[in-house]
Structures are given as C-alpha cells and as structure tokens.
Symmetry: C2
Subunit: 345 residues, 2 copies
C-alpha cells in the first residue's frame, strides 16, 4: 500500500507529513511527546521492517544497477569484481543488466529505473548507443550515474576510464618501430568514445612517425561473430593486406588468430597483432599476444565508490570529470622485436 | 510504512484483511460494492504505484538473486548470460552476488534474503561450503531455490547440472587410451558434489581399464593462485610425476601450462592435459587444450526458467530432481592420439 500511510497518519494526528516523517526517523526537530504519539500509532498499526518498505521510507533501496554490454569478456568480468568488492563493503546490492550491445535494450533497462528501483547506476554504454536521450532523462531526474570505460561525454557526471588515446598511440608506435607499413585498426563502433580515442591515438602516432598513409581501419559488427570472422579473413586475403593489426575488442584478437591459421599466415612474421585484453591465457596463445591490459578491477572499484559516495553524502556532488587509470602495454610474441629504435619525426 | 495499511483499511471498513487484499487485487470473490468501498478509500489515500510498494502488495519483487563463486570464469559468465536471457524475457531483475569461494560470505548473503528482497534464488555453492544450514533455513521458509552446476544434494529442490561423472570417466579413459600410466586429478574442493562426481568418474575409468593404481588426486586452494602454482610445480618436479592431468577448474589448466613452460616439460609429450573450460581461446593455446566443455548457457537458462516458473505458478512445485545437460568432450593438441584403441577389461 506504499507511502500512503504517512499521509493518513498526518491526517489522523493533525500533523504535517514532514513532521510525521521526521518523527518516524526519530528526528531531534520533533518534540518527544509528538514523537511518542506518532510512533505509538505506527506501532499500533504493526509496522514490520522490510527492505522495500524501508526503501519507501528512506527513499533508498541500497541497490545499485550495473548496466554493461556483456559479461563474457575479461574486462567486464574483472570490472564487475571491482564493483562488487566495493558494494559488499558498503552493504549495497548489485543489479546486473546486460545490453548485449543493443541501444533498444539499454533504453528499456533505463526506462525501468524511473520507478526508483535503484539508488544509482554504473554504466558502460552499448556499441550502438549514439543518442543519449534515455540517459539524459534519467540523469535530469537526479538519478546518480557514473560511467566507466564506455562513457557518454554529454552527461555531466564522473567518468572512470583508462588512457585510451595513449593506449592507441603506444600500440601504433610499437608496430611502426617493429617495421609495420600498413596498420589496420579493428573496431565495433563508430560512436563509442573509447574507440574514437584509441583510433585517434593510433592516427597521431602514424602522423608523428610521418606515416599517415599507413593507417586504415575496419568497422566490424558488434554482434555477429561469424560475419566478423569473414570480414577479417577478407581483409587478410587482400593483396594490400595489413602487416599490423590493432584489435580494439578482446574477441576480435581471437578472430585474427583463427583467420591467420586458416589462411596460413604466420604471426608475427606475416602479420603483427596487438589486442586489448585482460585474459590471463593470452600469454599461452601461439604466439603469445602483445596486449594493452586495462586496469579493469580498479576501474570498477573507483566507479562504484564514487557512485556510492554520491548516493550517501549529500555534500558530495558528482562532478563532470574524467578519472583516468592508466593501462599497461605488455609486449609478447605476436609482435616482432624492435630492430632499430625509431623516434617521431 | 509498509503493509500496515491493509490492516488499517480492514479496521476502518470492518472487513477481514484477506477481503481487503482481494478487493485491491480486483478479485471476483469480492462483491462489486465492497470492492468499490475498498478501492475508493485506497484512492482517497493517494496510492502511488512503486516497485517496492508493489512488492509489498503482491509479495513479489520480480527480482531473483544469482549467488555464485565468481564471474571471471568462462563457465559462470556464460551461465549468467543464460540466466539473464530468461530474466529479461520474463521481465525479472537479476541481483548478482559473488561468494569468492567463501562460505562465510555465502552465509551473509543468504541471511540478507530472509528480509524478502528477492522472489527466488539461483545458486552455485562455494568450494568451501560443506554445511548447509544457511541454505536450509532459507529454503524451509518457502524461498524457492534452484541449484546449478555446484549443487547441494541435501536440499530437496531442482538441480541443473551436467553429466559430471561421465565427463570424468571420458577424460580418464582418453588419457589411458593415449598411453598415460599416472593420472592426477586437480581439484579445489573436497566437498563439492561436482568435483566428487568427476573424480569418481575418473576412478571408475581407471578401474574398468584395470589401472586403479594409476589414479591420484591433488587438492589445491580455492583462493591462492600463487600457492596453487607452486604446488603444481612441485607435483611436476617429482620423479614420480604424473604423465596425465585432469584439471577440474579452468584456471588450473592455465597454471599447468605455465608450470610446464617453466620446467621445460612438453605438452603432450611429457604431460598430457585435459581441462574443464568454455574459453574460446583454448583452441589457440600452444598446444590447444583438450577440454570438457560444459553447456553453460543452457544450464543457466534452464535453471532460470525453472525458478521463475516456480515463483509464478502456484501449481508448479520445485521437485527434488536432477536435470542433466551433457557436456562435450573436445580433443585437441594437449593430448596424444590414440595409438591403439583399448577397451575396458
């Protein structure tokens, strides 16, 4: 029957709704005598504590939502571990929602939050998300939102990211130093900020090394693994095929390995490869994958503690800022050794 | 203020609590005139729909909890995908809780469910869980629970599993057929049912092939990856080291690869290896890993639809049964070819 009873009590006791609410919270602003009257009536009505009743009373559900593209990816699963580590410490519950890279699904999920099921949201947007009305309309209703990894710059809140531009720059610079003449950047989105930053980093490195024309990119599907595999194979069958690939998403690196195997191309002799991945198995691949390894756990942890602080402390406001936690560049066997150290022109 | 108002309305209108409840649900058992009286008063008190108020009214939160050891494991992340696919179709919310293999944490999580935050629970118990009081006390209060993968046989409910005994049997039989003389089974728990079943399957194969003495097992920590790595290295340094290993947990397979690399042992020449894993990267390892690949998505899906059916249909009761979805045995390069087909004695 919801929050009608405060009104009813107010009417019964001829008090304001605010006074009833404060009396029930045992506020010092209410006289002991009034508090007793209110609390006695509440007791008479046999009030039973319950998390949802308590949510109504405190307007807090002690629940946060995590909205992200998928869980079967080493970055996101480690980020969830980081989020959950903070949530359990702070006594919060974590609702998990997967968009599977669909903006329609993301919109439906966010629409449901209008009803007040959660106190705040941690979000990594889908590869399809290029319009942000669904996020705006929630954020404008004072729902705290913190973005991590795949952020939405338009929303004026805190974003926890890694140094994506530098990651792209370092990857491309390394490929240039190890002799690559044609670098291809594989991505699954044209709208995601992280993809743009990584790509811009790659392009800047090519510019700095006076190799603007060496850079190309291939946009793959954010859903169909099969079609991605064919597209990667087509790319590698071309006469003008790349001799260096930067895969901006974990699963694309594996597709490149499979395609090379099928086409009889050797990594790193015929094709050098750098991937974004946090899988511990990458160092056991044949050859081991050179990676950009993101601080997934720390990103999740930082995003969760910032969000919970904003939920709990009235004095703490989510500022429009980027918190950047750097990634590690780990060189392994899928790239050649640097024969001659080049420096940017 | 919770569910007090039904009582209050009952008192005000001189009706039973059940009658008020039915009238609010627009039940055909209540006369139109009475319904109108009840609904008018509810309206007068300005009832506002809200998921938590609605939870109180219907005693349903449309929320299920998933309690499992970890998310950074290909089996569990795929199982979550299966659970989530059903939840979104049925309009349910998924609360995710990770025990990180700790029984204390599992107990704390389950204790919190007593308050009615969720309508039902999907659970895969921790490697430490060898006493089930915390599960019993929740289940005995009519909380629907469905187990998946790591089940608790003591609780009389539905369990969704794979054919663990056969998985163990097939793995050991294959190692015997490919020439292994000393098989070691690596596990992280002595209490988990799935581990016991897999181990029993291995032992039965050894018996059937008249090689009882060929079988040994090593119990590793369910937490410390570092200490596991040392223990695996010690095992492989022994003069009497195994020539075949069955790793019952994904991450242990990777430890074996790393240890072999450090010790200069060749897989499969010096040591054959079979692992339980759903990682698509296993076929890119050097050498590719022979695996038992579990139907993770289907297990999650089946467990979730069974649980939601039990929540929604009064006529559907969770029976004490095992739903078994078979795994696939996929032979790759970490095991040798079968030179001579052996059959059990």
């Amino acid at each position: 029957m919801g929050n009608v009873t405060i009104k009813f009590l107010a009417k019964e006791l001829n008090l304001s709704i605010a006074a009833i609410s404060k009396a029930l919270r045992d506020s010092h602003e209410i006289s002991p005598a009034t508090k007793k009257r209110v609390q006695d009536l509440a007791k008479q009505l046999n009030y039973v504590p319950n998390p949802y009743a308590s949510s109504l009373r405190h307007r807090k559900s002690k629940t946060i939502a995590v909205v992200l593209p998928e869980v079967a990816d080493s970055f996101f699963s480690e980020a969830i571990n980081g989020i959950e580590a903070v949530a359990i410490k702070k006594d919060y519950h974590v609702l998990l929602y997967l968009t599977h890279e669909s903006i329609a699904r993301e919109e439906a999920i966010l629409k449901d939050f209008q009803s007040g099921r959660v106190d705040g949201i941690l979000m990594s947007i889908s590869a399809e998300t290029n319009c942000y009305q669904h996020i705006h309309s929630l954020f404008s209703k004072d729902m705290p939102i913190v973005f991590f990894d795949r952020i939405c710059n338009e929303i004026k809140t805190t974003k926890v990211i890694t140094d994506d531009f530098d990651c792209g720059y370092n990857a491309a610079a390394h490929l240039i130093k190890t002799g690559c003449q044609k670098i291809n950047f594989l991505s699954i989105s044209e709208s995601l900020g992280i993809t743009t930053m990584r790509k811009m980093g790659c392009m800047k490195a090519c510019q700095d090394f006076n190799m603007e024309n060496a850079f190309q990119s291939l946009l793959l599907s954010n859903k169909e693994t099969e079609s991605n595999y064919s597209m990667i194979k087509s790319l590698l069958k071309k006469k003008s095929r790349p001799d260096g690939i930067i895969a901006s998403v974990e699963k694309l690196s594996l597709d490149v390995y499979f395609a090379c195997r099928e086409l009889g191309l050797s990594i790193p002799d015929d094709l050098q490869l750098i991937g974004f991945s946090n899988l511990s198995s990458v160092s056991l691949l044949a050859p081991a994958l050179t990676t950009i390894t993101q601080p997934a756990f720390e990103i999740g942890e930082t995003a969760a503690s910032t969000l919970i602080k904003a939920i709990e402390k009235k004095s703490f406001v989510l500022v429009d800022e980027h918190i950047t936690i750097p990634s590690k560049f780990i060189i392994r066997g899928s790239t050649k050794s640097i024969v001659q150290e080049k420096s940017p022109d």
